[in-house]
Amino acid sequence: MRLYAICVYLFLYIPIGVIALFSFNAGRHASQLQGFSTKWYGKVLSNPFVMDALETSLTVAFTSALLASLFGTMAAVALQGIKGPLRTAFDLLIYVAVMIPGIVIGIATLIGLVTVFNQLNPLIAAIWPEGFEAPKLHMGMGSLIAAHTMFLMALVVIIVRARLAGMDRALTEASSDLYATPMGTFVQVTLPMIFPAILAGFLLSFTFSFDDFIIAFFVAGSETTLPIYVFSSIRRGVTPEINAIGTMVLAVSLIMLVTAQLLLQRGGKKIK
């Protein structure tokens, strides 16, 4: 039994390990190890295309994780206090957002937004003052952030709601019995307790957005995110640079995840 578990862990980690190992390979060929070197990391970090893609990915991930944490938490807190059709509608929306395959979300966003933009652009041009060039709505970073935020909001609502449900009702009741305003109760009692969950939701959202390929593939327009860059480089062939990018991406996700995990656990203990 233990042997079996070890084998599964090896299966999970050897591929990642091999990538990391070969990212430090001095040789040009991806096939044999020829000594230790960090030159591929140097190459990657001085490649303007990689750095541009990285910047786009970081901007998108940060913005959409922030928006999703904010709006998702607001929705989760409100949903806690209501029942009836509105609640049912939101539950259904969250369920749909999570259930629909990412590829369908990508497609729907692409053709939905392009159709809306095609209607709006002539209108904008018509009302724009003569002599100035009218702005044109198009697919790009904005549409990518909007699409990621939509999906991640659903994720944050689920995470924060789980924490709210685990909270002791007596605490908020005590607070209002002691004449705290609803706002005061929220800021002084509820918020500190759900904060670890919000932060964990933010970190998971950031990781998801940073790693997402399929939605970005459809809605990024002419922007290139890091996963899109990596995907198109792989199409051209396996190179040591990809190993170095891959190792760095994995390292970033690992740090985020371990932090999120710790936050969720610590927050969980506090409440109990």
Partner: protein
Amino acid sequence: MTQRTRNWLLLAPAGTWFLVMLIIPLTVVLIFSFGERAPAGGVVPAFTLEQYANLPARWAAFKNTMTLAPIGTLSALVIAYPLAYFLAVKVDPKWRTILLVLVIVPFWTSILIRSYAWIFLLGGRGIPALLGWFGMEGVRLINTPFAVLVGIIYGYLPLMVFPIYVSLDKLDKKLLEASSDLGAKPWRTFLQITLPLSIPGIATGCMLVFILLMGEYLIPAMLGGGKVFFVGNALVDLFLQSRNWAYGSAVAVTLVVVMLVTVTVYMRLINRLGANRDDVSIM
């Protein structure tokens, strides 16, 4: 401000966002699927079932998806179950958390990079070269259904382990002791108590993995080399290469419908199975 107004205000941003970025786009897909292809690549509004009638043209993609998704799900289940059992029942509790985290973490890291790792391993200079040393020349692994299956198992194993672990962890260990005190052999205890009581976890794990596999694009694109393609790959082709939005929308709608129907039927089956099992196993 009444509580009602406050709740509405709190829900407004999320609600608007869902409306603009989820409901409207999905409605557009549905409408386009009944439209006709415009010469320039867009869609001419119409009400025709022509696109749906054309679905058999992409039959191979549906067939591959509906074959490899269940096979992948079952393979992941077979590999995940013993590990989940080990983590929930056998392992020293002080190692449990760290071992669990080690299973979950890969799932949240880039599937792109993890699939790429297998291009590296299964490619000509990876495992086939190793096999060559042992005299097995000319083994081809990359761009085969096998490679796609390995990628699927590798990608989704963590998602399968976790729910099974949760259901096994909740299982009252006294039941196992009682069973062996009453003279049941270990395998009988397993078949009559452990396995039936872990059915909810198995059901959840299988459903999660299956849903994600139905919409998979990256794994077949990277490890199948254009020979093993899923509906996802057909969708990318239709929307980004041949720009046939009307037909692509019909394929997307069909994918979602097939997914929903499969999941509903599956849940019904599991509930029935679970209900029957409970009667037998507890008595």
